[in-house]
Amino acid sequence: MNKEFKQSIVNALANPNLGGALGRFSEAYRVGRAKAYEGIDFESLRTSVAEIKSAAAAHLDELAEKFTQAAEARGTKVFRTDSPQAVKDYILRLAQKHGVKSVVKSKSMASEEIHLNKHLEQAGIEVRETDLGEWIIQLAHQTPSHMVMPAIHMTKEEVTDVFNENVEAGQTPDIAKLVRFARGKLRPKFLQAEMGITGANIAVADTGSIVIVTNEGNARLVTTLPRIHVAIIGLEKLIEHFGDITPILTALPRSATAQLLTSYVTIVSGPVPNTDGTPKELHIILMDNRRNEMAHDPRFKQALQCIRCASCLNVCPVFRLVGGHVFGKVYTGGIGTILTAWFGALKESDEIQSLCIQCGNCKDVCPGKIDIPDLILELRRRLAVEQGQPLMQKAIFSVVNNRRLFHAMIRAASVGQAPFAKQGFIRHLPMFLSSMTDTRSLPAIAEVPFRDRIQKIQQPKCAEKAAFFSGCLVDFAYPEMGEAVVKVLNKAGIEVVFPEGQTCCGAPARYSGAYEVAAQNGADNIRALLAEDVKYVVSACPTCTVALKQDFIANLEAVGRTDELPAARQLAEKVVDFSTLVNQLLDGGRLKFKPGIEPAKFTYHDSCHLKRTLRAEQTPRKLMKQAGYELVEMEESDMCCGMGGSYTIKLPEISAPILERKLMNIEKTGAPLVLIDCPGCVMQIGGGLDKRGSEIKVEHTAQRLLECLD
């Protein structure tokens, strides 16, 4: 990772204002957003939005043509171009033709994308941003740190300094007064400007309408007072029918700022009278800048379903720590990573894509139904293909995929016997044994891996069999979790086998963009697991379960090994996560809880994959409550713990504060026990609590269930 980038992260983390402001906002946003969506079926709403936007993305050229005809029929001038330079030249020429000396702008990300202001200012034209946040960062010569709230990284004291230094001395850090000051200073600019520039949130092809969503009222002034109105619109804003604005306007304000509707929505469908009675010059620029190319990409066309609400930023555990500037200059957060790779260049996203911890929060709230984490992985994959797999990574995967060698190495390292432990190689092994353990203790590496221990468990001979997929952590660090799974299933009359040929689930390779390696992992596992005559394939790790159920298929598809897909699907059908299986067995009367279990309090941490991919997070809660335990929910129970596989090692600076917040939320519940369904989360949270000397116990749900089942 490049030093400058690491430094930008360190700087962001060291800025207490940033973490404080963003942290408070993300907490309030979660509550506000839920309230704003009360009474609305979010799934069906976002399905409508996604359908409208994806249908439009599939016909961008056609819609652009239709829009042009409809708008021109009403006297609007439409300029359509692929090139950012052509947009800038067009606006400058127009300004010069009309003798424009000053321009007022309401917020336009498209104009940020092409750095329009600089171009006009170099030609001697005054350009004034009028959205308060945009004006502040314009005065401070900064770039927006958030797509909806551009100056969220600044405190009122910093804003006061910016005003004092750049506008007029004597301002004090009183927010109401600062806002009033801005109103007073910008009002004459609106009245003087000869040209107003806006973006748009939606462009309707059928009617040639543009829809502008704001709160401050600046867009209404920008579209009313100057004689010329120029709207710069990215092609992805196009939709076909006017009626389709409803779902988008229902979702956008709720997702963006937790409002039912913003203060103002302005729909302009043609030139309207100016204040002197003349008709307005209305120019609409439809800008492509690779959007069409994106629409033709089978994977990334989905990104055009974005309505720029920035909710992916608001729920991101990483964004709320580091803010937008670490991500880049224009588009920030999850979707910003993808847009930067396209509107800039793929390699520009090389560093920022690594910020994604793959927790899936953004995917859950995206009103355009974009699988942002998946698209970020796809960027990672393409970067890996473009740049080739680093030698170190090759060496690592060759070890990881050889289970006995892998175990021997980490076991040796963990007891301090291996010379390579000191040379740093071990630090690059996925998930394990970083020497950077300031915030958490590491588990001991078991002397005997689970694959050998299972042979010693006395199992009943049963007709029904399940194959156990251990994954690295259960195999090498937490064999007791595997034993619990075996013993619980034995109680239900199921014998558990351990197919020796199983290897890494491929997640570390997949999450590094090394899809060839991941696909081979999948193929090896499919062969090993299908060789056994079993009814179920079960794992105690949600990440492994997701790999077995979904990623094997996706990885093989990604590298074109399509003839192996039927076998992958055959395996996927047998895979079940542990809690779901136990629940089925209880329902079928094959398991029952011991009577008279002493009621004990516990809190539950949602593992990202269990909740947001497998959607099975309620089952463990239900089972433990059925057993007689009392659940005390923690705040943000479904927020990532900061583990994220090798994330703890690549970006420990970010992982540590994420863990810190999780531990605080656990401690606040007062429960003496945390149950978790993922060994990775157990390692992270258990290690964190241990380091703090906490008395709180951390267990895999399987371990506690074993105690409770008869």
Partner: protein
């Protein structure tokens, strides 16, 4: 009966949603009462025939030639000849809305005529007149009724102007009105 109940629930919903975003809502039975109420409000605001004390009123169906004369007599400083200069310095702007949305507390107006835009953007107070019968349940209902081809500038207004751009602290009144008073008039015909 049920239609009346339903419509009163819609009005209540509109009122509570509008108030939740800091608009004030008043309801009167007749047009005459609405005119009297507005005249009183303008007096209270200190509208007067002095510089920077004007009020600007965009022509609307509620005000015919007779009402206009009466109002201009009753409220010195009130004008129906809206210019950008007067609007920029006015204490208040008055206009009539076409529709409203109950579930968000939103006003909807065809604002193609520039006077309508000036009176609701520049003065610190906007008084919005609305027929009680023009309150629709939601966005979908109004989108069916409006035609962008006939109304090239449509305004949706939900509460006064606001920002939270400094430290996420909600502050009312940035570039647009700081206050919005909505007057529902029961015997006023739906304009659009």
């Amino acid at each position: 009966m049920s239609a009346i109940l339903e419509s009163s629930a819609i009005i209540e919903s509109f009122k509570s949603h509008a108030e939740a975003v800091s608009a004030q809502v008043q309801r009167v039975a007749t047009k005459q009462m609405a005119l009297e109420l507005i005249a009183r409000l303008l007096h209270e605001e200190g509208v007067d025939d002095k510089p920077k004390c004007h009020a600007v009123w965009a022509a609307c169906p509620l005000v015919g030639p007779a009402e206009r004369q009466a109002l201009e007599r009753a409220v010195p400083g009130l004008t129906f000849d809206v210019t950008r200069e007067l609007a920029a310095e006015a204490k208040a702007g008055i206009s009539q809305m076409d529709w409203a949305l109950a579930d968000t507390g939103t006003l909807v107006q065809d604002a193609t005529e520039v006077a309508k835009r000036l009176v609701s953007t520049l003065p610190p107070l906007h008084i919005a007149i609305l027929s009680t019968a023009a309150v629709l349940p939601d966005l979908a209902a109004v989108v069916q009724r409006i035609d962008p081809l006939k109304s090239p500038y449509l305004s949706f207004i939900t509460g006064p102007s606001r920002t939270a751009d400094i430290e996420r602290v909600l502050t009312i009144g940035v570039h647009g009105p700081e206050r919005l008073i909505i007057i529902l008039v029961d015997d006023l015909e739906v304009a659009a």
